[in-house]
């Protein structure tokens, strides 16, 4: 039950993962242990299948999301401390939020803004890959994760406004 999530899916413990392999292995496992496979089975197997299937779902959701995955890797290596974002990023956050409010009505500007923020996301993502997989700089990675988290939420807001 406490098995490392990466081991569970037969993946090496890295931020950059083969998401197709993750999905494929997740499905192969669920096909064997999902409670539906034990609908007419004994009580003890029903209970165990529920427990394992829940665990596998949790592990999959963690590894599937880049932010959760990064946080998980960090949790394997260091105790999580409260981190503070650099002031210039906080300023940047406010500017972005204001900008979104200003252009709410303009589809063209929204599309442009979405592209710009998507680029920011990619940059952060690449940075995180280096910080975790190569430099193993957990403290810097923790800050990048928080940034990425904010950018992801902003992107969702833009998408909803667009629709």
């Amino acid at each position: 039950m406490t098995q490392n999530y990466f081991e569970l899916f037969n993946l090496s413990e890295k931020f950059e993962i083969d998401s197709e392999k993750l999905q494929e292995n997740y499905r192969s496992i669920q096909k064997e242990i999902h409670p539906d496979r034990f609908a007419t089975s004994t009580e003890n197997e029903k209970i165990q299948s529920m427990i394992k299937s829940t665990h596998v779902n949790d592990a999959y959701q963690t590894l599937k999301s880049p932010i959760k995955r990064a946080k998980y890797i960090l949790s394997l290596h260091k105790s999580v401390e409260k981190i503070t974002l650099p002031p210039n990023f906080l300023m940047q956050q406010m500017e972005w939020e204001e900008h979104l409010e200003d252009i709410e009505q303009s589809k063209n500007e929204l599309v442009e803004f979405k592209e710009a923020i998507s680029k920011e996301y990619e940059q952060c993502f690449l940075l995180l890959k280096t910080q975790i997989d190569i430099e193993k700089n957990w403290n810097e990675a923790a800050i990048t994760i928080d940034k990425l988290h904010f950018i992801e939420k902003l992107l969702n807001k833009i998408k909803i406004t667009l629709n």
Binding site: L8, F9, N10, N25, R27, S28, I29, Q30, K31, E32, I33, H34, P35, D36, R37, F38, A39, T40, S41, T42, E43, N44, E45, I47, Q48, S49, M50, I51, K52, S53, T54, V56, N57, D58, Y60, Q61, K159, I160, N163
Partner: protein, 617 residues
């Protein structure tokens, strides 16, 4: 070890025997039952005429009528004729608009009471009558007792409604294999028949509910990406739009129950006729007033424009949740009789800019899919299909200031468990109350209250020292259970559940008992027979598990299980129901670690690509 084989007809657990199972679409307006016959899902017809059983029940001193016979009495005896009971199930009186029901409704304890001439009935009992009727049809057609059923519910149903539906199944004597979402069942029906892959929209407009779901279908795996809808929008509302138009124009008093019933039936006829004809002539006398009207499709469309818009808005929300745009959709499956309306077809078609999948009968799709799923769950089919469903609504708890803290967000794949830590705020505090709500809104009052859990026996400590881990588990039927533990001392807190809706377990038991009009002797022999079937199944499956995976056990574990097996076989020979039950329980708990190890082995084997037959139980 020589094993005893006692099996009852229809209840055998022999692996290669076909088990009699059914799929049920328990609809607001009509219900259907289907089963796999010679390898294809087939609707079992109700009375050799129709495949649909109207979800209407009539109570009188002489008998209980279900279906068409009851429907005929809708306008004659509206107080004792119950239709659209699905709109009442799992709800309380405050949730509904009583004006929409020509029934005598009142507040029951956690349920709505329906006052009929033969006494008070609740929606669970009424639904159980429909299920009983379908069960009888199926047993007759399939030639014997049923092993189990898959019953569908709208994807939007909350915990209380799902639980109530499950209770109704239990009351009707059906063994429920699984509750599945209606749109998911529809996709199963289409997916297997057509071997589809990609993102699919299931647009389900039934008699009383509307659901739109986005599914991802790949390699025999169905994943629900998002669901949206409105549990109070359906074909009935389209009828109502015509009712409102006519009653306003001809000044008909719809407060009069007989007039309301008559005009409702007329409205339905007009609507259905417009699906096949461009215009309809109406000439009818109601309450001495002559109604003469020519309805066109355009006119109807104007009357229901707001309803159509609501369905499209919900579709947009579902797409947003799934993070998809219309051009990423590979197909749109139309479900529910109301999707026959041309105005709906046009609206959906133009929103997605593509043709619709509607070649299966939209009334039957859900029941067919449920039958396929039941067949798979029973282990009859060889289909390599797995359904991964999601939580329909977010689950949260009440925090300071009546704000909801979300614990399990909507659209999380099931089964799921999330733990949350709480602490005490007073020295020596030994009890704590947790209020669980379901819904997407920020304030507790805007969400649906599910239950209040009271944790007791928390070890007394100074304020803030106790760490109480509360685990919320939602199973594959979408039903919630809660457990709690104080983590610094590992003391399990006991939990008292007070469901905000529905019936307590005791009440269900009482209802079950009173529904069996069996003599005490018959009851006992039934319990003994059931205990024997369970025991035999456990023996057989344990033996099989040992055959393949004995090597996972230590000497002492193995001998413990073997002893448990021996005890159970001895108990079986004694034909004492209590002894058999006790020995079954013991062997079940003894085998739990073994089952866990086998599960781990299955995971390993799943990834090394070896096929494992032992799990095809």
């Amino acid at each position: 070890m020589a094993l005893l084989q006692i099996s009852e007809p229809g209840k055998s657990t022999m692996p290669h025997e076909h088990r009699r199972v059914i799929g049920i679409d328990l609809g607001t307006t009509n219900s259907l039952v289907a089963s796999m016959i010679s390898g294809s899902p087939t609707i079992l017809n109700i009375d050799n005429k129709s495949n649909l059983l109207p979800s209407v029940i009539h109570y009188s001193k002489d008998n209980i009528l279900v279906g068409n016979d009851a429907k005929k009495l809708l306008s004659k005896d509206p107080k004792n004729t119950i239709s659209s009971v699905k709109r009442l199930i799992g709800k309380t009186i405050g949730d509904i608009n009583q004006d929409n029901f020509p029934l005598n409704l009142e507040d029951g304890d956690g349920v709505i009471n329906i006052k009929t001439s033969i006494g008070i009935k609740n929606p669970i009992e009424v639904s159980a009558e429909i299920l009983k009727s379908l069960r009888t049809v199926a047993e007759k057609k399939l030639g014997g007792e049923l092993m189990g059923a898959v019953v569908t519910v709208p994807a939007y149903f909350d915990d209380a409604q799902r639980q109530a539906t499950k209770d109704a199944c239990q009351l009707s004597g059906l063994n429920i294999l699984r509750l599945i979402n209606e749109p998911t069942a529809a996709a199963v029906a289409y997916g297997l028949d057509k071997k589809s892959m990609g993102h699919f929209v299931i647009f389900d407009l039934g008699g009383g509910t509307f659901d739109v779901s986005i599914l991802n279908l790949t390699k025999g795996l169905f994943e629900v990406l998002s669901t949206h809808g409105n549990a109070n929008l359906g074909g009935d509302d389209f009828d109502q739009a015509i009712v409102n138009f006519l009653s306003h124009k001809y000044k008909l008093n719809i407060k009069d129950i007989e007039i309301q019933s008559t005009i409702s039936i007329l409205a339905k006829e007009i609507k259905e006729s417009l699906s096949n004809n461009k215009e309809v002539e109406v000439l009818k006398v109601i309450n001495g007033k002559e109604i003469q009207e020519t309805f066109t499709r355009e006119q109807f469309k104007t009357l229901v424009d707001d309803l159509i818009k609501q369905t499209i808005e919900a579709t947009k929300s579902a797409l947003n949740d799934a993070k998809l745009s219309t051009d990423e959709i590979d197909g749109i499956i139309m479900v529910g009789g109301s999707t026959r309306m041309p105005c709906i077809q046009e609206a959906v078609k133009s929103f997605f800019k593509q043709d619709l999948l509607n070649d299966l009968n939209p009334d039957e799709v859900v029941a067919l899919g449920a039958a396929i799923q039941a067949n798979i769950l029973a282990g009859n089919g060889q289909e390599d299909l797995l359904l991964l469903d999601v939580t329909p609504l977010s689950l949260g708890i009440e925090t300071m200031g009546s704000i909801v803290e979300r614990i399990i967000p909507r659209n999380t794949t099931l089964p799921v468990a999330m733990a949350q830590e709480f602490t005490t705020y007073q020295d020596g505090q030994t009890a704590m109350s947790i209020h669980v709500v379901q819904g997407e809104r920020e304030l507790v009052d805007d969400c649906r209250s599910l239950a209040k859990f009271t944790l007791r026996k928390i070890p007394p400590m100074v304020a803030g020292a106790a760490k109480i881990k509360v685990t919320f588990q939602v199973d594959t039927d979408g039903l919630l259970s809660v457990s709690a533990e104080e983590t610094t001392t590992n003391v399990k807190a006991s939990i008292e559940v007070k469901p905000s809706y529905g019936l307590s377990e005791d009440k269900i038991k009482t209802m079950l008992q009173s529904s069996y009009d069996l003599a005490e002797e018959d009851k006992n022999s039934r319990i003994l027979a059931e205990a024997k079937v369970d025991a035999n199944q456990l023996i057989e499956l344990t033996q099989k598990a040992l055959d393949t995976d004995k090597d996972l056990l230590t000497e002492s574990e193995l001998s413990q299980i073997k002893n448990g097996l021996k005890d159970l076989i001895n108990a079986l020979n004694s034909s004492n129901k209590d002894k058999i039950k006790e020995a079954t329980k013991k062997l079940n708990s003894q085998s739990e670690p073994f089952a866990a190890k086998r599960m781990d082995r299955s995971i390993q084997k799943a990834l090394t690509g070896k096929s494992i037959n032992k799990l095809e139980l």
